[in-house]
């Protein structure tokens, strides 16, 4: 969709700000489309034409309301789509190779070794019936022979790195003996055991206390830098990505709304949806009794509006918005899919 539209040239003539990190591309997602089979056998594109690139060691924040396709995008990358879903188009180039063309067996080799993933709820993402040691050893053994002793040492070392006191004791324990924050630390340790080059964190802090949230985010940041791992940080909360992300991908109803370097998105959000997402972060420096909310709800999969999918909730929408797909406006690395933003830039 975006490929066919002419690129709008940067009218202001600013040089695009440099994106942090090395310029070596690790992951390039091109026009990814994921189709889901609904209960009524309808086949819908729950992720529609999503593109982004991620360099080594970089963090991409993927932001949007629940149900906008963030998790599906991530699941497609790691090859763990639900069995009702399939990649219907596009490419996922990881280290230059298209993951959509890999066999399940090849994907299994990559999962846990090259690409790791951690999930939202640390209370349920560890198996309650196995000791921490067993679960961590499993992660190591999935990708090569490791003796029990070696596995224990590596696991203990990794637990120490994620800030768990008395790691040897913890290894002997079961998940229910650990707090939520500790469990998420264990999950992070487990996902980093094989030194992956990409870590996907799906709402890693959403179910934690606010104080723990900040600690976990900082931990992710530190370890990522130390191990030079790239990270896809999925969240519905713009506040979470302010510190961690180098780039931001804002998704709405399965499509990209806006994508670009984090500083630009924060300083100059161009999509009305991004603007409202930013407006809903509580701020200390602005004296306000209210938080901005976004009226209405995201459309359901089987009832997508035509044209721009955001127009029913958009305060700026005009008649054209629901007749035509929004054009892509590109300013350097910053892309926004909004007719009004494009109009505003060209006028």
């Amino acid at each position: 969709m975006s490929e066919t539209l002419p690129e709008v040239r940067n009218p202001t003539g600013d040089t695009p700000p440099e994106v942090r990190g090395t310029s070596e591309t690790l992951l390039e997602v091109r026009n990814l489309t994921v189709k889901l089979k609904l209960d009524n056998s309808q086949d819908v594109a729950a992720v529609d034409g999503v593109s982004f690139t991620l360099n080594r060691g970089e963090t991409l924040g993927v932001v949007g309301e629940s149900g906008c396709g963030k998790t599906l995008t991530a699941s497609a990358i790691i090859g763990l789509l639900p069995h009702t879903g399939r990649v219907a188009g596009g490419e996922i180039l990881f280290e230059g190779e298209d993951l959509t063309k890999k066999s399940p067996r090849q994907m299994r080799e990559i999962r846990g070794r090259e690409i790791s993933m951690i999930f939202q709820d640390p209370m349920s993402s560890l198996n309650p019936v196995y000791r921490i040691e067993t679960q961590m050893r499993e992660a190591l053994r999935a990708h090569g022979k490791v003796s029990a002793k070696e596995a224990r040492e590596l696991s203990a070392e990794m637990l120490r790195k994620v800030g768990i006191p008395l790691p040897e004791t913890r290894l002997r324990e079961y998940p229910y003996q650990l707090s939520g924050g500790q469990r998420q630390r264990v999950m992070i340790a487990m996902s980093l055991l094989s030194k992956p080059s990409l870590l996907i964190a799906d709402e890693p802090t959403s179910s934690l206390d606010v104080t723990i949230q900040a600690q976990i985010l900082e931990l992710l940041r530190t370890l990522q830098r130390e191990m030079n791992a790239a990270c896809i940080l999925i969240t519905h909360d713009m506040g979470v990505v302010t510190e961690n992300a180098d780039k931001i991908l804002v998704m709405y109803a399965g499509r990209v709304a806006e994508y670009g370097p984090a500083e630009e998105i924060f300083s100059r959000p161009m999509h009305p949806y991004t603007q409202r997402l930013l407006g809903s972060i509580p701020r200390l420096d602005v004296d306000s009794d209210y938080l901005t909310t976004i009226e209405g709800a995201a459309p359901s999969l089987d009832r997508m509006p035509t044209g721009c999918r955001f127009y029913p909730r958009c305060p700026l929408h005009s008649g054209v918005c629901h007749e035509q797909e929004p054009p892509a406006l590109r300013i350097g690395e910053h892309v926004v899919f909004c007719r009004r933003a494009a109009d505003g830039e060209s006028s």
Partner: protein, 316 residues
């Protein structure tokens, strides 16, 4: 663990006391005594009848008779069978192992069949396989069990002539193959009766587990699908499946008695039915005691297994 066992055994003993007391009263209040049922030559005088009553202790008040029975049991004596005139323990001894063999085989096959079928159904819910297995499970517990027995006899023994319909041995033959051929029908009716609940329970337990995030974690680690489903899925679902088996156990034992009767299997179930019919109170009480002890022991064992399967339960 020791404290837990102590509590369990104590409560089991209390349960046994109530079971036996209630049963004793019930048995004593059935119309007709052992003397009436067994009958004599018909020419007994009232005095002879009375002395026979006294010999069996039937003239004593009910509570005293129960107290005597309980006292003897605590001393390890189950009494003499009215009907057979030999110690109850001896009668039961002859009929005990055939029952264990029958129930053990029936339940083992129910588990071996029900767990994989339920697991596959949960793996792909609403698939053809899931619907088929649901249908099979529903049939399993909707069809009255004595009808299953009769249908099995009709189809496999009478029509197809594959296996013998009754008994444990063909007369004069003592071979393993002969025993197995006699075992197949009664054991499969027990399997058929028990497997339905087991399929449903396995399916729902696995369905719960399959939605858990730790399965996603296991996949994200790069484990194979088989490892994910067995080591993380089924392994975690085992505890609720075991619970189902515990709940079913008394019912299975009860049904086994009917199956034994229908198939002429010389187990304690059919023995109990005969004993009740003969108003043989010591024998009935003895059989009940053995069955109740067995069910309670199996439950305690399964309980311990539950603790081993799920560490969260162990420390509570």
């Amino acid at each position: 663990m020791a404290r837990y066992l102590y509590e369990r055994v104590l409560s089991a003993l209390l349960t046994m006391f109530f079971i036996t007391a209630i049963l004793y009263v019930l048995l004593a209040s059935i119309q007709g005594s052992a003397l009436d049922v067994m009958g004599g030559s018909g020419g007994e005088t009232a005095a002879e009848y009375e002395s026979a009553r006294q010999a069996l202790g039937l003239d004593l008040p009910l509570w005293l008779r129960y107290a005597h029975w309980l006292r003897d049991v605590l001393r390890g004596d189950l009494g003499m069978s009215y009907r057979y005139g030999i110690p109850v323990a001896e009668v039961i001894g002859q009929r005990f192992w055939p029952s264990v063999l029958l129930i053990g085989t029936g339940v083992s096959f129910a588990v071996l069949l029900g767990v994989p079928v339920g697991l596959l159904a949960a793996y792909r819910p609403r698939s053809v396989w899931d619907r088929l297995s649901s249908f099979f499970a529903l049939t399993g517990f909707a069809v009255p069990r004595f009808i299953t027995c009769i249908a099995f006899i009709y189809i496999f023994s009478f029509k197809l002539r594959l296996v013998p319909a009754t008994g444990m041995h063909s007369s004069g033959v003592v071979s393993f193959g002969d025993l197995v051929s006699h075992l197949i029908l009664p054991a499969s009716t027990i399997t058929f009766g028990a497997v339905g609940y087991l399929i449903q329970q396995t399916r729902s337990a696995c369905l719960d587990v399959f939605h858990e995030d730790y399965l996603k974690t296991a996949r994200a680690k790069g484990l194979s699908e088989l490892e994910v489903v067995l080591k993380h899925g089924l392994r975690t679902a085992l505890a609720p499946i075991l619970t189902q088996l515990m709940v079913e156990m008394p019912e299975i034992v009860g049904f086994a008695a009917i199956a034994e009767k229908i198939f002429g299997w010389p187990g304690i179930g059919s023995l109990m039915i005969e004993a009740i019919r003969n108003r043989d109170i010591p024998l009935t009480m003895g059989v009940t005691l053995v069955i109740a002890t067995l069910v309670l022991c199996v439950n305690i064992l399964l309980d311990i297994a539950y603790g081993l399967l799920d560490p969260r339960v162990r420390y509570r």
